[in-house]
């Protein structure tokens, strides 16, 4: 059944309706107010258009994981390397144009009728005073009202002008037609598909490819310039949204910078671009305002987290879901050392040591080693009992560890002030200068935090990369590939694993300390399971094992939600949906590391990560090759 067939069209109409229905249920129209109907129609149009482009009889797109491996890294944003061009080609045989138009019309009408029918049903129900659901009652009048284009009050009093319903049908019909026209036009312009991989191929074929490359390199600098310009008083974009818009551009600039570096020719050119970008980023704390700085600070705190977790999960292959524990340890350690609140335990301890408890006890930099050390110890303490665990057993135990730490923070009231948290944690100074001397004038307090975050994460990245290049990194990777062989090749498993945990924890501790001083107040809820999940998600979305990818992941997962703050209630749904899509279209992450790309090649069934864990869990069992291979049937195990 080709999508241009009649029931194909109706099917698309139904799918569109289902999706719009979801949007209506979650209250989007109410949120949009007057513009609800046009926007929904636009959504429908986009949907139909996408269907007409990609929903071809044979979209033989290579298995997506494979697809992500090909193409030039510089262009691999978003959509996968789809070979759907063929499909589109096969879409319009002969008088295809009219067929497509008919398809669009039909689909549009279907959706329109359904939507109109639904709103009519709802409206009349509410009008007649029927209670739809105690719950739905709250949102329905506002939503349906917006959808029909009348005030909630009008619906309640059941005075809705009837012509509104045909109007809805009209809107969606137009949407369908418009989509069809667009598809035909695109076909006429013979532009195959919008997927980035295609685009890169297209650009490759052009003579001015180098110009495109330079454009790619120039982009972040242009954006930086724009950000600076936005900073000038009086300049503004989109009215009062200026702050958000500027933040968005800051995020994009930072992200596209990483691509620019990849686009540059290796060698001197690359060095220069990287240097300039580094300078550009270093100026940001000075030009951004309090809010943008605070967000960027958070982003780079999570970059540190990501880099640390990446050592445990990405390099050593130990799935850790309790990573937040070390973050919390770092944060609370610093809080104890620098906040007015002092728990009896600690003050007793101080009296014991004969230290006079003045506040802050230690400055940021003197406290840093303490926080790092405490976190590292925590890492080792967690590491020892889980040394023999693999895969998901490890995952759940670490998760439990994280929860235990949080519950202690919450319930050990005397030690941690319980749910009321620890307030007024002091900010980093420098060379004995008090923090205030930075939080004034050209560098706002949050800007200072951002600067510290930048530098610290740079250091962390440096250490992580160097270690990964050393024999320790090779040992980690070997361990991830095949524990027993690694050991038989001379890798000391216990030491190597504990090192991974300890180093990862140390980085998390640094991040936690900076987080505490950024937040000024910390509460146990700040250290819920979701922090671990965020950290894990950002390294996987970014591209596990690749530091650049981790930065991108942090920008996307911690930065974008702040941009979406205007639509807060939809933030998480969007985030979650994008997470799933991301995993489907680009399992290797935005900027995968070379090894990762090998891993996700469709050839290996469950992927090496499993291969290591698949083998025996019980150390007492004799070790043999992966069970997936038939040869092993012949292995000399007494079955």
């Amino acid at each position: 059944m080709t999508p241009v067939s009649a029931n194909g069209a109706i099917r698309n109409g139904l799918i569109a309706f289902a999706f719009l229905g979801y949007l209506i249920l979650i209250g989007i129209p109410g949120r949009l107010g007057g513009s609800a109907l046009p926007v929904l129609a636009l959504v429908a149009a986009l949907f139909f258009w996408v269907k007409l482009r990609f929903d071809a009889p044979d979209t033989g797109g290579a298995g997506l994981p494979g697809g992500s491996a090909e193409g030039k890294p510089g262009w691999q944003i978003g959509a996968p390397g789809q070979s759907s061009g063929r499909g589109v080609g096969a879409l319009f045989p002969g008088r295809g144009g009219t067929l497509v138009l008919r398809h669009g019309l039909l689909a549009g009408v279907t959706t329109g009728l359904l939507i109109a029918g639904m709103s009519l049903a709802f409206a009349s129900a509410i009008g007649s005073g029927a209670s739809i659901q105690p719950v739905l009652d709250k949102i329905v009048p506002v939503n349906v009202g917006a959808l029909i284009g009348v005030s909630p009050g009008q619906i309640a009093n059941d005075d809705v002008p009837l012509f509104r319903y045909p109007l809805q049908v009209l809107f969606f019909t137009v949407a369908g037609l418009f989509a069809a026209l667009a598809a035909v036009a695109a076909r006429a312009r013979n532009l195959q598909t919008t997927s980035m991989a295609r685009l890169s191929a297209y650009l490759d074929s052009l003579p001015f490819r180098t110009t495109a490359r330079f454009a790619g390199i120039a982009l972040p600098f242009l954006l930086l310039a724009y950000i600076v310009w936005l900073g000038i008083p009086g300049v503004s974009a989109f009215g009062s949204n200026e702050g958000t818009v500027r933040l968005l551009f800051t995020l994009i600039a930072t992200g596209s910078g990483l691509f620019a570096i990849r686009l540059a020719h290796p060698g001197r050119e690359q060095k220069i671009v990287a240097l300039l970008l580094a300078l550009g980023v270093l100026t940001m704390p000075f030009i951004l305002d309090q809010f943008q700085n605070s967000v960027m600070g958070l982003v780079f705190i999570f970059v540190m987290m990501g880099l640390g977790l990446n050592i445990v999960v990405g390099y050593a292959g130990l799935l850790d879901l309790g990573y937040v524990a070390f973050f919390a340890i770092g944060a609370y350690t610093y809080a104890f050392l620098s906040a007015p609140f002092s728990s009896p335990y600690i003050s007793n301890l101080l009296n014991l040591l004969g230290i006079s408890p003045e506040i802050p006890l230690l400055g940021y930099w003197t406290a840093l080693p303490v926080a790092m050390l405490t976190a590292a110890i925590g890492g080792i303490l967690l590491g020892i009992p889980v040394l023999r665990l693999r895969g998901d057993y490890l995952a759940i135990v670490t998760l439990g560890f994280g929860e235990i730490i949080r519950l202690f923070m919450l319930n050990l009231g005397e030690l941690t002030n319980g749910p009321r948290g620890i307030l007024e944690i002091s900010q980093p100074g420098l060379f004995g200068l008090p923090p205030q001397s930075f939080s004034s004038g050209l560098l706002s307090s949050q800007g200072w935090i951002f600067l510290v975050a930048l530098v610290s994460s740079a250091v962390v990245a440096f250490v992580a990369i160097r270690l990964n290049d050393s024999r320790l990194g090779r040992a980690w990777f070997a361990m991830q590939e095949d524990e027993d062989v690694a050991e038989a090749t001379g890798v000391h498993l216990v030491r190597t694993k504990l090192l991974a945990f300890a180093i990862g924890a140390t980085f998390a501790g640094m991040a936690g300390q900076l987080y505490a001083s950024r937040q000024i107040n910390i509460f146990p809820e700040n250290f819920s399971l979701f922090v671990s999940i965020d950290a894990l998600a950002l390294i996987i979305v970014g591209g596990i094992g690749s530091p650049a990818g981790i930065v991108l992941g942090a920008l996307a997962l911690k930065g974008l939600p702040e941009v979406l703050r205007g639509v807060d209630e939809y933030r998480i749904v969007t985030f979650a949906a994008l997470l799933v899509i991301m995993m489907i279209v680009r399992p290797a992450g935005i900027l995968p590391s070379a090894r990762r790309r090998v891993q996700v090649s469709p050839t290996d069934e469950q992927g090496p990560t499993t291969a290591a864990e698949e083998r025996e869990n019980d150390a007492s069992l004799p070790a043999q090759g992966p069970p997936a291979r038939p040869e092993d049937a012949r292995s000399e195990e007494p079955a």
Partner: protein, 266 residues
Amino acid sequence: MTALLSIQAVTKVFGGLTAVDNVDVDIAERSITSLIGPNGAGKTTLFNCLTGLHRPEAGEILFDGRSLIGLRPDEITARGVARTYQNIRLFGRMTALENVLVGQHLRLHASHWSAILRSTRQQAEERAARTFALELLAFVGLESHAEVVSTNLPYGEQRLLEVARALGSRPSLLLLDEPAAGMNPSETDRMMELVHRLRDEMGITIFLIEHDMKVVMSVSETVAVLDYGEKIAEGTPEEVRANARVVEAYLGPEVVLQDTADTPNL
């Protein structure tokens, strides 16, 4: 001359089943010894006992006169025992070169701090390691594939790479588990030649498990035969082949004939 490795009355039991039953084998320095026996005879289990993957219930394993019993695999490797695997177990996502570098793990000593700071000493060590790795790859004939990801290597070359990785730890005793399994004749010849060169050029003692009689008879100076975990014979290939018990327990008449046909130059 004294035995480099002496296995004394080693016994390994899984549940009720005795996989290795009171086996004694002595392996002389710079010798090539084969361990043969039908499937399930306990050959690989014996290897696993040697490399510390299993812990024998009883018996003693002396290497250079010191006991290996109870040592961790990495400690045993440090003593100078390296092995390959029956079903190839390379680090799949690593390049050939990286595999061999991991093989050298024990021979590298730069601290992690120096790795972070890229101290000259650590740099020098890494460079030396690379050159040695390339030499080893050249030795097994993979110099051209140094940067190839190991899963993408053809089967035979993966076996060669396993040998190179094992050599990375500079062993004095090398355990080869069916090195020629699944190889075509030309690859097999290449492997046999490699085994000889290992002994002659590197002076490494070889202890190998093999099913292919052609290989066994041509490379080994001593042959030990396991059957149901027991050693039923030991001696030169000729003696073993002559041994009636071996013949009926393991080879079977027609194999003998075929073998004599294949190997006239014995």
